[in-house]
Symmetry: C2
Subunit: 204 residues, 2 copies
Amino acid sequence: MIKNNKNENTESLILEAAKSIFQTKGMDGARMQEIADQAGINKAMLHYYYRSKQLLFEAVFKNAFSLLAPQLNTVLNDDSSIEEKVRNFSSNYISFIAEHPYLPNFIIQELNRNPDFILKMKESNGFPNLEKFKKQVDVEVANGIIKKIKAEQLFINILALNVFPFIAKPLIQNLIDADESDFQHIIEERKTEVADFIINSIKK
Amino acid sequence: MIKNNKNENTESLILEAAKSIFQTKGMDGARMQEIADQAGINKAMLHYYYRSKQLLFEAVFKNAFSLLAPQLNTVLNDDSSIEEKVRNFSSNYISFIAEHPYLPNFIIQELNRNPDFILKMKESNGFPNLEKFKKQVDVEVANGIIKKIKAEQLFINILALNVFPFIAKPLIQNLIDADESDFQHIIEERKTEVADFIINSIKK
DNA sequence: ACATTTGTTAACCAATTGGTTAAACTATTT
DNA sequence: AAATAGTTTAACCAATTGGTTAACAAATGT
């Protein structure tokens, strides 16, 4: 058999396969055998490298979360204005999620199933922190740059407008009668649409 | 044994138990035995009344969807202006979901897992229809009442801002560092906050 | 060359799961 | 009250599932 390089060794083969299965089927719907098949290896190897389904799942989850968190963080903590942050975030985040469409749904779904799970994430560094954003919103409100709004509500709105379409895709597609290409087009539009919508609402 | 009335007969006991288990654990995570235990009856009864796990699940899903759909429909199809629709929807929908917190997540999650499933829902009457809303948005845009926006995008925005906080509750709670009572308070605020946010953005 | 560690496999195992069955119990009909 | 139809139960079943084991193969070190 051909020698594997670092990107094709068994351990990462397993992680990649597990990622794909867990993210589409969830913890409960995923089967160890299916993960092994997709990785092209024996089921016993899953346990050799990750001990149990739970630990393999946690490895996948942490991996996914650590991909998502920096996207939030960079926007929250850079030095641009609120307006610039909103524009950057909407454009970047929608592009990012379009490349990882299962990510937000996976994370949100599994956190709903096991809310204690996020506590482990909070301990790790790189967990998104809202402090700077909060102060910035308060300052811009005080200076009359944007209308009065609580940072938390604004943050929820930004997240909602950007993330929801990906999570609720099957529902939305049917409600607005859009096929796959219609939907892609609408998502593409939203890279600026969402930012404009938010700015219009908060700009004085 | 005491005679059961219509609200306590076995069939609806099962449906209630199944609702509670399926909505918190999902199709894959739910166990027939657990549903039977919660209903206080023998597991064989589940099959006697609903034949299989799949059919029991579909009964629960249709039931849930038929609760949610009219909420969308009444707002989409009444005779008020877009602004009134937005205000009504935000207030009513948030109140409604606050009473059925697992509903949107359940529906969205299971539709993601099984996208074909919504086709069955579409056939049934009462499936939300956007036609009237679309025309109305176009008219109000043409008349200069609201800013230029596509009805589909506005609809997605309304849905996102109202529904997302419930779906992403565990994530949001941790990102903004809110305990249960903080979160309830923020949700309460959103009954007007969301409507104002949308109106601010689209009103000329 | 040999021994030891690391990686891999096929076969196996106990527990769980959705579903069935046959018998018992209860109400309804005649 | 006897027969019939509908409801409920305990015990059972085959299939699936996560996980283990023991033997085998491939590196690695000495």
